[in-house]
Symmetry: D4
Subunit: 177 residues, 8 copies
Amino acid sequence: MSLVSIIMGSDSDHHIMKEASEVLKEFNIPHEIRIVSAHRTPAYMFDFAQNAEQRGIKVIIAGAGGSAHLPGMVASLTSLPVIGVPIKSPSSIIGIDSLLSIVQMPPGVPVATMAINGAKNAGLFACSILATYSNNLSIKIKEFKKQMEQRIMSANENLNRIEFENYQRNMDKEKNK
Amino acid sequence: MSLVSIIMGSDSDHHIMKEASEVLKEFNIPHEIRIVSAHRTPAYMFDFAQNAEQRGIKVIIAGAGGSAHLPGMVASLTSLPVIGVPIKSPSSIIGIDSLLSIVQMPPGVPVATMAINGAKNAGLFACSILATYSNNLSIKIKEFKKQMEQRIMSANENLNRIEFENYQRNMDKEKNK
Amino acid sequence: MSLVSIIMGSDSDHHIMKEASEVLKEFNIPHEIRIVSAHRTPAYMFDFAQNAEQRGIKVIIAGAGGSAHLPGMVASLTSLPVIGVPIKSPSSIIGIDSLLSIVQMPPGVPVATMAINGAKNAGLFACSILATYSNNLSIKIKEFKKQMEQRIMSANENLNRIEFENYQRNMDKEKNK
Amino acid sequence: MSLVSIIMGSDSDHHIMKEASEVLKEFNIPHEIRIVSAHRTPAYMFDFAQNAEQRGIKVIIAGAGGSAHLPGMVASLTSLPVIGVPIKSPSSIIGIDSLLSIVQMPPGVPVATMAINGAKNAGLFACSILATYSNNLSIKIKEFKKQMEQRIMSANENLNRIEFENYQRNMDKEKNK
Amino acid sequence: MSLVSIIMGSDSDHHIMKEASEVLKEFNIPHEIRIVSAHRTPAYMFDFAQNAEQRGIKVIIAGAGGSAHLPGMVASLTSLPVIGVPIKSPSSIIGIDSLLSIVQMPPGVPVATMAINGAKNAGLFACSILATYSNNLSIKIKEFKKQMEQRIMSANENLNRIEFENYQRNMDKEKNK
Amino acid sequence: MSLVSIIMGSDSDHHIMKEASEVLKEFNIPHEIRIVSAHRTPAYMFDFAQNAEQRGIKVIIAGAGGSAHLPGMVASLTSLPVIGVPIKSPSSIIGIDSLLSIVQMPPGVPVATMAINGAKNAGLFACSILATYSNNLSIKIKEFKKQMEQRIMSANENLNRIEFENYQRNMDKEKNK
Amino acid sequence: MSLVSIIMGSDSDHHIMKEASEVLKEFNIPHEIRIVSAHRTPAYMFDFAQNAEQRGIKVIIAGAGGSAHLPGMVASLTSLPVIGVPIKSPSSIIGIDSLLSIVQMPPGVPVATMAINGAKNAGLFACSILATYSNNLSIKIKEFKKQMEQRIMSANENLNRIEFENYQRNMDKEKNK
Amino acid sequence: MSLVSIIMGSDSDHHIMKEASEVLKEFNIPHEIRIVSAHRTPAYMFDFAQNAEQRGIKVIIAGAGGSAHLPGMVASLTSLPVIGVPIKSPSSIIGIDSLLSIVQMPPGVPVATMAINGAKNAGLFACSILATYSNNLSIKIKEFKKQMEQRIMSANENLNRIEFENYQRNMDKEKNK
């Protein structure tokens, strides 16, 4: 049974939204992925949003581009937490229209908005919601953060080695002038 | 029986949206006015949008602020023409969020977007839609346009009289220096 | 005799505006397509706008880029409904200049503004205007909407099959580690 | 023991952020409220963020204006879910700087961003997170949503009565002309 | 006979546009001032623009707000230089819509755009155009610039005196602590 | 002797600014072209701006990108009319920074701002300034405008032929189905 | 002898720029304050910028609004570090024009840009530059930072006391219901 | 021992930030380069910022993209001058988010912000800070500025030669027509 449902307005959003799915797989969280269009399948969206909780879904991740109404409309139809991902589609205005359309929700109907194309963070945030009552998951998030830290520390060391070598080479050249 | 339905997301939008109503009254077009919130009354919005045509409504005017989903969602649920009015509410980002949220609709679900706070024009555009098959209404619109023209021409004459007087006074002063 | 007139400021806008034409063909609505530049052929624009109604035109669709004055100027010269399409031309500021120039019309002269490059929706909106008094056309729009819905539902099924297969493959790999 | 911690960059943000507190009180969720400045009390912020989970905090709500670093920095130091509220302070650029600074987080460190000044929704979203494993709370959210719906439906009825009366009065005047 | 014609889209623009008139009076340049609306008096605008040159007008200054088409449309109908002034009217988006609508003209039809509300500079620029062949006027512009310089130099001296006094007073206070 | 001086902040702006030069050649107006950087050659800029009038220059066209100070600084140092061209260089923010930096001049120092990359219009506007006292040049501008009009009218005819053929072909196909 | 020179484009900027002066007084750094307009006193600006270093000035703080050229032009004429303060004057576009005009300097001529109206930070940054070789000043900055920290910590305690009292009062009320 | 420390949020920023390093090499200023992520290595950032001064660092240059918190957070933890470089990374909104996040710092914690991708200027500004008490370095900066000037003057001469030749060729062609 899926705990997280990832939905998107169009299959052209899939190359972005699959990053949410990949994170959830990494954290072993059962999830589903669906195309649900607020504007082209409004009835299906209604059914989906109103039945998600009963099906055992705990968190909904909704990605949409342009005049992105999907996350907000789903949020209006469920009491589950909804995470919104603005998508920079070719027809959007560098993603700003989608961002504003998702984030500027009226009082009473929150959508947890991520960065433009921030599907990976949507997956992570779903994990952190589920981790509020799962010690196991909370530990996994801490490990994930530690790994990120270590990748930066290694990159730092690599960069310094390269920089130092360049510097050396440069100084050698200067001497030989 | 109403031909035009004016809806808005909140009663705080009424001071703007009533301008649409005033225009329709001026053109003697029977209409109704309702508060329908995409986010707070989604089920009512669904019913409203799906039944509007059957009730004899020909055009829907929808005003909304902030993350303005009402016009687009109604457009997705009806085949009637929907006119959208972005409203500069205190919580909106100078109305830009509402404008983009209303106008940037995906292919397949158009919303005829007016200027920010452009409720008067929404009313006029509804008239011009109804006028496509009403010679009577078409003539009224032409008269309305003529009156606008005459108001500008009169303002122009007034301004010139004032300017000329100022100019005269100024020249008199210069001479007396 | 054409019911809809599609005009644009330059032939370089044709690759966008032809989408309006394609929709109208799909709905069997007789229409014409013309290049009318507000800035380079102002006299022709005047004649066009003032004679459109007499020629039997019911709706005008006007596309323009940059400092896009065509839709608003035509709207000032006719009582027909005018639909404006902002075009993201190379010289425009990501289409925002055209959008604002078209949508921010003063009270009295509405232009029904579509999304940036939203020519397809302009065609559809023209249909929905003509459908206000044509049951036939209204049914066709409902069929069009149903087809859109079905395309999304099929895409959804495809996606789920693919996702499920990926998921299976992934789980198999994990087991074999 | 507090389940939610509301923090803000300055006491001048309190008139906005207290709305989060009010919602949490309405839902009977024990919470604390603190001033923690990323830029003026960085050491205190570090301690706060690193110890929040141990103190039993389940969700952090962080509000900040201008170059709003608080939500993102706290998110980098904890595995708890962090909700960010951009605040339109006098020195901010109509809140856009704060919104972008909070929402555009890099992959790996999500912040659940609310609308500009959206502290009430931050409180509600915290509730919906806690409700993922509390049936009780989930029912309260549904009741809250029902009340919102009812308020709109009543407003709608009031508006219609007023509109109808105005309309009547107007028609009476027209007749008496 | 007027050499410069100042036109504006509405009499509500007069409080801004009169600054152009004041400058022209200061430089003793005969000019006229008119309300010409691109959208409400298109026929009058056409006549005005096409006859301006014959009437002896050398430069046209056109101010407009919102979706500001007046300067560009007049420029398309005359070979005279047209100076455009974007006006921050209440319905405009902080003047940005007017600025972009005026400045983003297509190749072939230039409008010399001034700052938002920059009517004074429009007047000055008209003078500098007329000065290209008038030594007299050119000298007056140089005098005008010298006066501006002197006003700043005096303000500078005043400020320094005040600052010095404040500083003295401050140092005295410090000593007496 | 040059009547117009075209200056630009960097030789990388030349591919844009040469369009101004091409227009001036077309109108047989003697002109010069120079690289003058406000930030890298401030002394040369000072000399240039202060001596231009004495050298017989009547109009200055200045193009600049990024933080574009050249047009405004030259305008502060001469009483000649200065035309500014914002250039969308790789380091500029889609040209918006240059546009605002050039157009938002304070009262007293106007710069006639063209569209982003609008060098061609800068050349044309220089012609229209020079034409205020040259009947010959004024006639040439009218011819230029007529040619533009004719190019659009021809494009219109071509488009209609193509559209008509497509339409015919389409209808033939429909019949043969 | 002054170590820091605070300059501004107009005396109307003084109410903002004096905050830089107040910080410098607090740190006992001798400084001067002057009105220097890039556009109205270009020659004075040239002299000022080219002689500042010889007069013993170590850092220049330049504030300007609208099309803010002063900081960049001064930076082009001196090798001293220049700190720029964008000022939100009534004629600027919410300060964005000034910010972009100051910050987007080309390679080779840096301006250290502060927040819109950030004159206080300009003063502090000047101190931190002077502190690079003054242990005394460096200690004072650390003390300043400590005081800021303590002010926040006190505010935090106050807020908690108030919140706690409100909370108590609220709970008492609930009990007594 | 390094006098300047160049830090960046990710190794993908290195291709931009290395320009700061190249300038410092050109001016023979010993410096280091490190990857320090505010969000992924917050503890390392803390240690770095708090120990930089003790290690003899005089100036910190910090580059970051997206929701760019690094420069501001480092500035909050040190009394050294911090120079911020907004980086236009693929996930940023054309660099505007990074620019606003870096520049809009609250009173008390300044960051000297450079242009988007302005790493070269960051290096130069670090030099100008160090030059406040180094006559040697001050002379080098003046030489650097002179070289820039000479490059523009040469480019100017080249351009004029080319332009003149083109002009000649053009006139020859005209004659031979």
